[in-house]
Amino acid sequence: MSIYKDAKYMDVPYEEKQKLFQEVKDDMRWDTTLYGCYECGICVAACPSARFYDFSPRVFAQIMAREDVDTFYELLNDSVWDCSQCFSCTRCPRQNNPGTIITIMREVAVNHGLSSAKKALQAYSRIIYKIMSTGTQVAPDMLQPDFFPDWGPDVKAVSENLDVWRRAIPPETMHTTELAWDVSEKTRLELYMIWKLTGNLEMIEKIDEGIFMILEEVMEELLDEHGYDIDDFENVLED
């Protein structure tokens, strides 16, 4: 039972929450992320997200140490996405790593296609597509005034002059506009094989079917051109 009277998600079966909680604890990183908690708050003092959100790395450490499954589920849905993943909380005198607890929790949320995770990633899906298909996440042509209106007039200047300004950069790998650098086809193919071999395509299908379908279409055509059959690349994590 949650220690909080106003605990949320009480309609979700306890077994379901317990299953997700156990998945976090089964992650190989779990054993080196939590050694109990002094409740000293040093992590909170160092945490950027704690300054601007109702968010606390200390609560993650305590709830996980206390095995409070109900509150765990609440954090999994309402708090995990506020973390900045800066790992300032590794200053913990107990050698806890709340940032990694959160990384693992996010992974579990994504793997189960939780609606809170889908919502958190809604505006983000085209970036997932970019990284998974090209191996680079940030591209020069992302610098558009309507995507970064708050970054000032330089973004407009870059977008208006993009082609010429990209060619006006000396390293020859960087004359690209759709990719951060000229990534070879071999790299892109091998990367896609990695996603397939490690079960990441199945995960993407769960979290964003639209992105999965585009990714599959584009990449499998490329694989085909090079004489590969994606079905030959089985999930090695299932062995």
Binding site: M28, S88, Q137, A168, T187
Partner: protein
Amino acid sequence: MSVATASPPKASTREFIRKGQPPTEDYRELLFDLEAKGELEVQRVPEPFVEVETKYGRKKKIPLEFTWHHKSCGQCGHIPGYSTAIFWLNRQFNKDYHDPKDQSSCTAWNYYASSTSNSAAQAAVAIRNFAQAKLDGYFPLIHCGTSYGHYKEVREEILHHQKLRDQVRKVMDRLKMPFVFPEEIVHYSEWVHVMADDIAKKQVLDFSNIRTTVHPACHYHKLVVEDAIYDRDLYDGQRTAIVSGLVKALGAEVADYSTWHDCCGFGFRHILVSRDFSRSFATIRKIERMKEEANPDVTLTHDTGCVTTLDKSQFSTQAHGRNVGIPVMSDAQFAALAMGAHPYKVCQLHWHGVDMKPLMEKMGIDHEKAWAEFEEVAGRLKENGTEFMTWEDADA
């Protein structure tokens, strides 16, 4: 001698001497053990290298050349003068280096933003790049702080989990590539750090009137702490010496400020889809503090996300009448400018948000002339849609 601090807080004056064994295991010993068991191949740091002291007093080897430049998507994509300055510095010292096309990013910006991956995939992405570096005959030099931090995490996981090693080996076998791990994970700013005195010897601009503040990247010195460079002559050995050591070598001032340890506010997902947070943190906790306590001419950092967040967050904050307006650049761009690199053709400062002109004037750079020179080349490229700016153009 310690770095001069222009303002509070006061650095401790106690001498900080390490006694006894470091509190952590030595990752190199563990790597070599795995190599001896035939589990993986360790790529040795090529000679010539320089040894520097890290957090717990161990020596870390930093290669001077034969480096495989593991580029950063955020630098190449949005701050291209950052990567260009790193290459330009290597060229000025005639270092043999390789700028590969067969390189993916570490994909960790996405991983820390969305967790849409897993340990095995992240490790395989790292090892694929490392294997390619080995096959190309060069040693990985990591441009991005995120990649550097993430690859150290991958190393921790690889060293301690047999199951993960087995999974990664299966992936590498399917890719028909070897399982290679480098002896050291080296960040480009460590190369800049060990080259600082050589850079200073080739310095053509006087920086003695330039006041800087330094922002150290979280994923450099907080995420897997043992690889970061410390120096007893800088901050009494209590904070990482990275970036500050270069500034000192170039004769500029490192001014202190109270939120030195704070993150920049990047947040991985926040900078893309929740920028109100990044902007608030970057300006309220970092830029305004620097401005009030140190009033620097420029703030220097050594990571993609930090340059982006600290620089781009200032535009709309200025509109609210806040006390901001500090130019932001990387240590590599600062070093290149000191050595006479072109501010637009090499350092590509027109991709940055905050106005750099007052800084350039203080550095003795004629920015109007420099911009006209850039425009001349750009005009030529516009006329001829297949031409590129060459390194010769950049130095003309």
